[in-house]
């Protein structure tokens, strides 16, 4: 018992510098988001401030069109997640349950697409969306996010599907169920947790994406949150930092909470799916 206590103290002592650096930006966000505008550039710079100005948030909401960007982000992330999952579930099922010609090649293809980053293809993607007339259309982001996330979702789902015993479906067939019935009544109910977890990760990835959104969305009413916040900072003479920080607080805290709750699934999924 005391051994564990001592170890805990040592470990926390070792980890604390890293944790301070990790938590530092969060402190900066909060402290800036609630301070009066006049105290942004005090000299010497200081953490302290005279009053909590919660109105910063409501002012920011109006001045930065936060609501519009929020809706855009929500639409893109939800739709991209839905498309990615809809296409990945059958593919992951096939990978987990069937042997078929070309399976190895498909696996390699998935690995390759996972490695392809949007930035390398961004010019080609822009030209593609141009020719499809999808520039300035949020659906261009839906399609690209879905495509770039699919390798991850297929792997994640496949690794969970593999842990659902094949016996169960066979037992259902023996009980007189067709393949479709066994899929709907036996397999899918058991796979729901995996699908929820995968969906949330895809959502977060889409929610946070920057490069493609910056490139494809040319007019400010189509901006997603990261681009909208970036636009408040980039190329401006006068940056309203208290508004920017208020916006980052609102955009990141909900996602960070959900993520903290789910990170243990990611550790498992990574260990099972991505690495193996």
């Amino acid at each position: 018992m005391t051994g564990k206590l001592k170890r805990s103290l040592i470990y926390w002592a070792i980890l604390s510098p890293l944790m301070v650096v990790i938590l530092f930006p969060f402190g900066v966000m909060f402290v800036t988001a609630v301070r009066p505008r006049a105290e942004l550039f005090t000299y010497p710079p200081t953490w302290g401030f005279s009053e909590f100005r919660w109105e910063n948030f409501s002012e920011m909401w109006v001045k930065t069109n936060f609501g519009g960007a929020l809706l855009n982000s929500l639409y893109v992330s939800v739709a991209a997640t839905a498309v990615a999952l809809l296409l990945s579930i059958p593919a992951a099922y096939a990978m987990s349950r069937y042997r078929f010609a070309g399976k190895g090649a498909y696996r390699t293809f998935l690995l390759m697409t996972q490695m392809m980053s949007p930035i390398v293809l961004v010019l080609g993607l822009f030209r593609l969306m141009m020719s499809l007339g999808l520039v300035n259309d949020l659906n261009s982001l839906v399609l690209t996010y879905a495509a770039f996330n699919m390798a991850f979702t297929i792997w994640m789902l496949q690794s969970y599907f593999n842990s659902i015993p094949r016996d169960l479906e066979e037992a259902a067939w023996m009980d007189g169920a067709s393949h479709l019935t066994s899929l709907v009544r036996i397999f899918l109910p058991l796979a729901v947790p995996a699908m929820v977890v995968t969906a949330i990760f895809t959502f977060i990835n889409s929610w946070n994406e920057f490069v493609l959104a910056l490139t494809m969305m040319r007019s400010s009413e189509d901006f997603t949150l990261p681009v909208q916040i970036y636009a408040q900072v980039a190329g401006r003479y006068q940056v309203e930092w208290h508004h920017v920080m208020a916006a980052t607080v609102l955009a990141t805290v909900p996602v960070a909470i959900v993520f903290s709750w789910l990170q243990r699934y990611l550790i498992r999924g990574m260990a099972l799916g991505a690495v193996k």
Binding site: A172, M174, A177
Partner: protein
């Protein structure tokens, strides 16, 4: 209920032959046990009957119908899986009623059947529980119940008891046997435990490396094993084998001792003389086969003696209590007609046996 006919059935996985032409006729109402060492293809054969594996060659008939291309759900077969395969998101009741609900049977009818089966299996108290909340033995019974409510043509069991502890296995063995006597459903039961096979089967099919070695009732296999493999596989402890040469109605061991035998074989032929440990008895008059005691293991009910004869190991089981010491020489005899004789080259039984 229905017979099952297996004609020249083969199975290949890619280039690998797993079953090399199996012929087997399972009669209506019969309880047939497939035994054999791990990897010999028992599960594969069972799953082909079930329709869970494709058939690479030959025919499988249920009744008079060839079912090679009939999907599993249309074969009207119930199966108990080794890991039970209970649906984890359904209660015991839902597990047992799943097949009936798929058939759109009337609710009250389903209820009657499930409760009846639960009564037989002592599961009435657990119907609302989820499989997670059951012990291993109870889960096993739910798996049985799921098969039971079906009134299927054939029951298949793939090592259904292998996940239970030794005591429970004996209990469930008896229960399954009693159930079969009551329902009389044609059953195929896979195990690698030869005691399970001996106690439960109407007929046993001994398999080895994708082939059938022998088919017969438990006593036929015990009394007249067709070859060395079956002789070795059936019975515990295993049959003793003494290698020697056939000479004028006797087997001559390397050290010159002679064992009377009346097998038909050419003089000088290399043969294997087989005798079960439980058939050996002590000679009181100093005649009989001399063996040097190496290890003595009392089990309480009997004594197992490991000894050496002409450099070859030999085991004897005595129910009486003797006081043996390692190094001691004992003399062994056996009743007439209990010895076996096999051709050493082919492993086949030599007709006529030995004495």
């Amino acid at each position: 209920m229905s017979s099952v006919t297996i004609r020249g059935v083969k199975k290949k996985y890619g280039a690998m032959d797993v079953l090399h032409g199996i012929d087997l006729q399972i009669r209506d109402r019969e309880f047939v046990v497939l035994v054999g060492p791990s990897g010999c293809g028992k599960s594969t054969l069972l799953r082909m009957i079930a329709g869970l594996e494709t058939i690479s060659g030959g025919d499988i008939l249920i009744g008079n119908r060839v079912v090679n291309d009939v999907p599993a759900k249309a074969r009207d077969i119930a199966m108990v899986f080794q890991n039970y395969a209970l649906y984890p998101h359904m209660s015991v009741y839902e597990n047992m009623s799943f097949s009936l609900r798929l058939k759109r049977m009337a609710k009250d009818m389903i209820d009657r059947k499930v409760r009846e089966a639960a009564e037989i299996l002592n599961l009435s108290k657990f119907l609302e529980r989820s499989p997670r909340q059951l012990s291993g033995g109870q889960r096993q019974r739910v798996a049985m119940g799921r098969a039971l409510v079906r009134d299927a043509q054939v029951f298949l069991f793939d090592e259904p008891l292998s996940n239970l502890d030794a005591k429970l296995r004996v209990v469930m063995r008896t229960e399954i046997k009693a159930l079969h006597q009551r329902l009389q459903t044609t059953s195929v039961y896979v195990t690698h435990d030869q005691i399970e096979a001996m106690t439960m089967a109407d007929r046993i099919v001994v398999m080895n490396a994708g082939k059938i070695e022998q088919i017969g009732t438990p006593l036929e296999l015990y009394d007249t094993p067709a070859n060395l493999f079956v002789a070795d596989f059936i019975g515990s402890p295993s049959m003793n084998f003494l290698r020697g040469k056939l000479e004028q109605g006797a087997v001559v061991l390397p050290d010159g001792s002679r064992l009377a035998a009346s097998g038909q074989g050419a003089a000088g032929q290399a043969v294997v003389f087989g005798i079960r440990p439980e058939h050996l008895a002590l000679a009181t008059d100093g005649t009989g086969l001399a063996a040097e005691v190496e290890v003595v293991e009392p089990t309480g009910a009997n004594i197992q003696v490991y000894a050496r004869v002409a450099g070859m190991p030999l085991c004897a089981v005595f129910t009486e209590r003797h006081d043996f010491r390692p190094g001691q020489t004992i003399h062994l005899i056996w009743p007439e007609g209990k010895a076996h004789l096999f051709d050493d080259a082919t492993g086949h039984r030599l007709q006529g046996g030995a004495n």
